[in-house]
């Protein structure tokens, strides 16, 4: 039995010097390199696999410094501080070149923490949307990127624009124009964990495409993920659909932001995540 393509992509080999070596995976190809979400997930995998990791991922910021291309890479992690119930990390990912040298492709900081029993609450409403089962799967062949085949997506609002068609009429004046809402699960069944959540945080196409209904070069520069789910939430979600919604607030001088929420089908806010996205023109 072959392993799930997600687990294959985030497989890391611990090295004697404390680093981890991985390899890009063609199943997760975007345009010129792997999907940014799977790269972020690889960083989370290195954290949770680290023998000195205290607690679980709470916050992650990844900065996409240069394009990762096909081949091996290593991840170097440094614990900058261990407190009683939390830990701070600095992370670098380097692409290993054919001549043995390496080139920086990603920097990150992360905070892992022991989840404690406290007051819990949510101050945003779980949107009333159609269930995933009532919708058909979005056809990933509409956009020729291999990684889109890895997810079963059911689009509620804001599909990838068809730039050959006029922009669709706005469905609601109450929702942000740039909003996309979609159910997402792994196409090959796989239970949700922090590694998988990090990848889903980056599952949206650039908001500038929706805002302008025009294709322009765009790419994530920096992504921050706040992990709210605990192990019970992850276990309850299992391989079920996750409601992923994203919108932008500002498009200014070549960069936009993006804010997103990832919900379980039963209304638990699993993660909130934010990006700075480069765009041209």
């Amino acid at each position: 039995m072959t392993r799930n393509a997600f687990d294959e992509a985030v497989t890391l080999q611990p090295q004697a010097d404390g680093t981890f070596i991985g390899n890009t995976h063609t199943a997760w190809w975007n345009m010129v390199g792997p999907f940014g979400g799977i790269t972020a997930a690889t960083v989370v995998q290195a954290l949770v696999q680290h023998p000195q990791c205290l607690g679980e991922p709470a916050a992650l910021t990844v900065n996409y410094v240069a394009a990762l291309t096909g081949g091996p890479f290593y991840i170097a992690l440094r614990i900058t501080k261990t407190n009683r119930s939390s830990q701070h990390w600095m992370v670098e990912m380097q692409q290993i070149q054919s001549d043995g040298s390496s080139a920086l492709v990603l920097t990150a900081t992360a905070i892992t923490a022991v989840r404690r029993n406290t007051y819990n609450g949510t101050d945003v409403e779980f949107p009333r949307v159609a269930s995933a089962d009532s919708l058909t799967r979005w056809d990933p062949n509409q956009v020729g990127m291999e990684w889109l085949q890895r997810y079963d997506m059911r689009v509620l609002q804001g599909p990838v624009p068809d730039f050959d068609m006029p922009p669709p009429a706005s469905g609601s004046t109450e929702l942000p124009h740039s909003l996309t809402r979609q159910w997402v699960r792994h196409a090959e069944p796989r239970a949700l964990d922090y590694t998988a959540l990090a990848s889903m945080a980056d599952v949206f196409y650039p908001r500038i495409w929706r805002q302008r209904h025009t294709w322009v070069p765009a790419g994530t520069v920096s992504m921050t993920v706040y992990f709210h789910a605990d192990q019970a939430d992850l276990a309850a979600t299992g391989g079920d659909f996750v409601l992923c919604e994203a919108h932008a607030l500002a498009f200014r001088n070549g960069h936009s932001d993006q804010s997103a929420r990832l919900w379980s089908a039963t209304g638990t806010l699993l993660a909130t995540t934010h990006q700075l996205v480069y765009y041209k023109d």
Copy 2:
């Protein structure tokens, strides 16, 4: 003529080894150390003052690793990558101890970028609120933290709760329960720049206090700021009030998030910013 207390607090002395040395400032004292916003501002000051800085601050993530206390500190910056129009940074702040040793208090990553002439837009409405001039200044002596004296705040919604009183009735069911909206400007007149924006991004009290109407220990663990304003926006704002609004989405197992927007009085979205906040109980 004495300098503005803000400029005094972010004053940095470049060192021969490329680091910058600063000193905490009692005018910005919080409870056991300086206000986190002024510390973040000091990092931005180091970036913009760095002789090799390309462009202007676009994204910043600061991680509060350990408590900064009174005294000198140094900031070490490393350019991890310079692209054609953007630059990636890793930053560390170390408190300098009396014996000459140092201790890490903050890590950060940042992206600076050359602002380009592109499509600009905003996909969130500037809230219709009362003007700052129509409101009286919030009395900073209500809460005994020195830094609150440094800002002239006019509260529209969600003042610091009076825990001796019952929780106020919710004003509107359409607004998030944890929302605070306030006009903020420097009490000593000072023009807005990226350094000042970074400080204002952290101007809110912990959302858990508002959510529960109960005082619990709480503090920012990580803050990300996306700077949307360009120099013309900053110049147009000058020393005028900035509308600062913040709310939380999730309170889970000892951490909450916080999302905030900083607007000019004329409706320009100057920055969006997000935090992970620790809380007890």
